[in-house]
């Protein structure tokens, strides 16, 4: 579904990605794990069109995404839950979700999306008229995911959904990610520092280190990999 080939991205003189290749099969959850500054966020931002690659190719269902503006990428059915949530804190929960459906003109479809998001995150419905800036971190993460779902994506990219969230809510959010994948059939590319959790819910994993993929395998196998264990899972 998504095919990244030899992707190279740099910020000025600093190269962030040195030829990253990965692929995501339809219907799966694929995770990209790695430490700080490994290039995880850069990979997602390049797919979304926020960054331009120096070299390499990004194919979505065979169509190249390179050079497309972010709103065109959304149009094709990819949605991106950015790192740090980036909810519109000055807008209400309702308005945030409406913005998620910005490209959707069909009122009935928008209504259906609202219902589906509220079914997944009932908390958002309770807070619908509240200004998003007043939500807790976990609720904002739900809103960020809900907002991304409002565009009715086929492919969802999530950047560190566990970041800065109470541990109890992290569990809930990861359950929801699995639910979104299973019941709505949305393919997910998950970037996470919490490798343990990410490998638990995903089918396949890539390990990114200083801009290069150093390992890739089924998630179950990666969890047993001694190298991954010592570096990312806190084991010896």
């Amino acid at each position: 579904m998504l095919e990244i080939k030899e992707l190279a991205v740099s910020y000025g003189a600093i190269t962030a990605l040195h030829g990253v290749s990965l692929s995501v099969k339809p219907g799966s959850i694929v995770t990209l794990i790695g430490g700080n500054g490994a290039g995880k966020t850069t990979t997602l931002r390049t797919v979304s069109g926020l960054l331009k690659p120096q070299a390499g190719e990004i194919l979505y269902n065979g169509k190249s995404l390179v050079g497309l503006k972010p709103h065109r990428v959304v149009e094709l059915g990819l949605s991106h839950v950015p790192e740090g949530r980036m909810v519109f804190a000055n807008l209400t929960v309702h308005e945030n979700l409406m913005m998620g459906a910005y490209l959707q003109r069909d009122k009935n479809l928008i209504r259906a999306s609202f219902e589906s998001v509220f079914a997944t995150f009932p908390r958002l419905q309770e807070r619908e008229q509240q200004v998003a800036g007043t939500l807790s971190g976990g609720e904002q993460q739900m809103l960020a995911i809900g907002r991304a779902l409002m565009s009715r994506p086929k492919f969802l990219m999530m950047d560190e959904p566990s970041l800065g969230i109470a541990p109890l809510l992290v569990k809930t959010i990861f359950e929801k990610i699995v639910e979104i994948n299973r019941t709505q059939g949305i393919t997910i590319l998950l970037v996470e520092q919490n490798a343990n959790l990410a490998l638990e819910i995903s089918h396949f994993g890539y390990v990114l280190e200083t801009g290069k993929i150093i390992l890739s395998d089924n998630s179950a196998a990666l969890r047993q990999n001694p190298q991954v264990k010592s570096a990312y899972l806190g084991g010896g």
Partner: protein, 295 residues
């Protein structure tokens, strides 16, 4: 009575400042820079009214509104063109670069105005029927009524657009976080164009209402009201839409009261005294929130 009369004069001047200030603040909201060419769009608005007033029936209510609407459309287009040619190529560059470009555009419009319209002041036609209403010693001219009615109508319309419509919500979203806005599918360039169209249309309305009350127009007429409206926007809190309206009205009142108290020598100085004061005491403005600059 004298006080009430001055209050009316102050409010009508303040309404005009408010209309111009809104354009500064909206553009600041989406692009984080002060569009110094805005005051010259105001001038073009007045001239558009001048030329349209020649072809449309003068001193009639419908004709006046038509002139107003026509000038607003012309300036909306001008605003979009300015953004596209001058500012869009600089997207992602430092704010200083864009700011200097804005000053360049301002000079271009002033000099093009002198070339096309001529440097001599022109007398602005009477767009609306002239009538003075007296209430126990207070005089309210039909032109002042036009200022109030048009300003209130425009403010209500603007409030509706910004708070209730899809594009208005997108403006607020973009103003808060452009990256997140683009990730939900908002075409940021389109929203920025729309913001320039809206702000420039308001400047045109301000230009015409100003010219109705001070009926001598020239290509450099925008400088002083433009600067004062900028002060009004800062006073209310730059980037804050209700703040710009409030700042405009307050500034108009302050200026008029200073004149009424015999300080007409200082009528222009007082606006800048207000600017210095607000920057010293409350730099975020009356309704603005203090924000840490993101790096």
């Amino acid at each position: 009575m004298e006080f009430l009369q001055q209050l009316i004069n102050g409010l009508s001047l303040g309404a005009i400042y408010a209309l111009i200030a809104l354009g500064y603040t909206m553009v600041y909201g989406v692009l984080r820079f002060i569009n110094f060419a805005h005051s010259d769009v105001f001038m073009v608005g007045a001239f558009a009214g001048f030329y349209l007033g020649r072809v449309l029936p003068a001193a009639s209510f419908g004709g006046g509104l038509l002139v107003l609407f026509g000038a607003m459309v012309i300036c909306a287009v001008l605003g979009v063109v300015i953004e596209k040619l001058a500012y869009r190529p600089l997207r992602g560059r430092s704010t200083l670069t864009v700011l200097i470009t804005a000053i360049g555009v301002s000079l271009l419009l002033q000099n093009a105005g002198q070339l096309i319209f001529g440097a001599n002041p022109k007398s602005f036609p009477k767009l609306f029927p002239q009538h003075n209403f007296t209430f126990g010693g207070m005089v309210l001219s039909s032109d002042q009524i036009a200022v109030f009615v048009v300003t209130i109508a425009i403010l209500l319309g603007l409030h509706y657009i910004v708070m209730k419509t899809r594009i208005g919500t997108a403006m607020r979203a973009l103003s808060f976080n452009p990256t997140a806005a683009s990730l939900v599918g908002i075409n940021n360039d389109m929203v920025i164009s729309f913001t320039f169209a809206l702000g420039s249309a308001l400047a045109a309305a301000g230009g015409i209402l100003y010219a109705i009350n001070y009926p001598s127009i020239d290509p450099l007429m925008g400088t002083l009201p433009g600067l004062k409206a900028f002060v009004a926007a800062v006073l209310g809190g730059i980037g804050n839409i209700p703040g710009a309206a409030l700042g405009g009205v307050l500034l108009g009142l302050i200026e008029t009261l200073v004149v009424a108290m015999g300080g007409s020598t200082y009528r222009d100085a007082v606006a800048f005294a207000v600017l210095i004061l607000i920057l010293l005491v409350r730099p975020s403005g009356l309704l603005g929130k203090l924000q840490a600059e993101k790096v």
